[in-house]
């Protein structure tokens, strides 16, 4: 497989790009990051609602948030951006997110191999000890794009 050299990046700038893309469509915001983790936020927005009777947001935006937090975590642990793709992502939805609360998602990359990044994370809506979702997944290097 062709080796791609990781390109150093600033996660806060990545999620401040003014372009139209899915991250901006759902309203993703950067929170914080470390050497192998990234935390992103998803402010409550009526356009994300999945159940109109309760005002609870759909699970899809949480999946997208965790995909981005985990993808960024994998890049951080690898030392920069590399072409990679989500191989699989599993999410347990522990309870519905409370309407009008911001959802915070933290992804962590806990293991890198030559071709695979193993990630895990969780999301909460205000209390880190009372998560709304747990996630586990893998990303694979896709070589030179």
């Amino acid at each position: 497989m062709p080796e791609a050299k990781p390109v150093p990046f600033d996660p806060s700038a990545l999620f401040a790009m003014p372009y139209a893309w899915h991250g901006n469509a759902i309203g993703t915001r950067y929170c914080a990051h470390g050497p192998d983790w990234c935390e992103l936020a998803l402010p409550y927005d009526a356009r994300l609602i999945g159940d109109e009777a309760s005002g609870v947001i759909a699970s899809g935006p949480i999946l997208a948030l965790m995909d981005m937090a985990c993808s960024t975590a994998a890049w951080l642990k690898r030392g920069g951006m590399v072409p990679h793709a989500t191989l699989d992502l599993r999410i347990d939805y522990l309870r519905p997110a409370r309407p009008r609360e911001t959802v915070t998602g933290r992804g962590e990359c806990y293991r890198l191999t030559r071709s695979i990044a193993f990630v895990r994370g969780h999301a909460h809506d205000g209390d880190d000890d009372d998560p709304i979702a747990h996630v586990a997944g893998t990303f694979m290097l896709t070589g030179a794009a």
């Binding site: 899915h22 469509a25 759909a58 899809g60 935006p61 191989l87 699989d88 999410i91 939805y93």
Partner: protein, 131 residues
């Protein structure tokens, strides 16, 4: 069936399919783009969830259940990404593998031009609240 606001954000529409579970179509528009030229994995996951939920409501309707009184809640989802989603519409359809009293096991598959070349698939467990 009526789609929620999140489905509108994804631009989803329903294709008529007779007695089969509905096919949901997601156009390639800026709001679903990930890296340039590709559909965002989160949008594909959201589409698969909507297709799975639509298939479950479809199956519950077939059961003669009162759809207005029935609510389904996702317990978990596992998505496999198989190919990049390119600059064209993505379709997805769910399939109810087992419909229990309280739990449904549902699969969904997403494709672009050829239905037998999936770009992603998902397994989902949902809780059925019959009111």
């Amino acid at each position: 069936m009526k789609l929620p606001p999140y489905a509108e954000l994804l631009g989803l529409s329903i294709e008529a399919c007779g007695d089969s579970p509905p096919v949901l179509v997601m156009p390639f528009v800026a709001d679903v783009v990930g890296r340039p030229g590709f559909v965002h994995g989160g949008a594909i996951g959201g589409l698969l969830e909507m297709a799975a939920i639509a298939a479950l409501y479809h199956a519950l309707g077939d059961d003669g259940g009162d759809r207005d009184g029935v609510r389904v809640k996702p317990v978990n989802i596992t998505v496999d990404y198989m190919r990049g989603g390119r600059e064209k519409p993505t379709r997805a359809r769910g399939s109810v593998i087992r419909l229990g009293t309280r739990i449904a096991n549902v699969e969904a598959r997403a494709w672009q031009e050829e239905a037998d070349r999936p770009i992603a698939g998902a397994r989902m467990n949902l809780l059925i609240d019959r009111g």
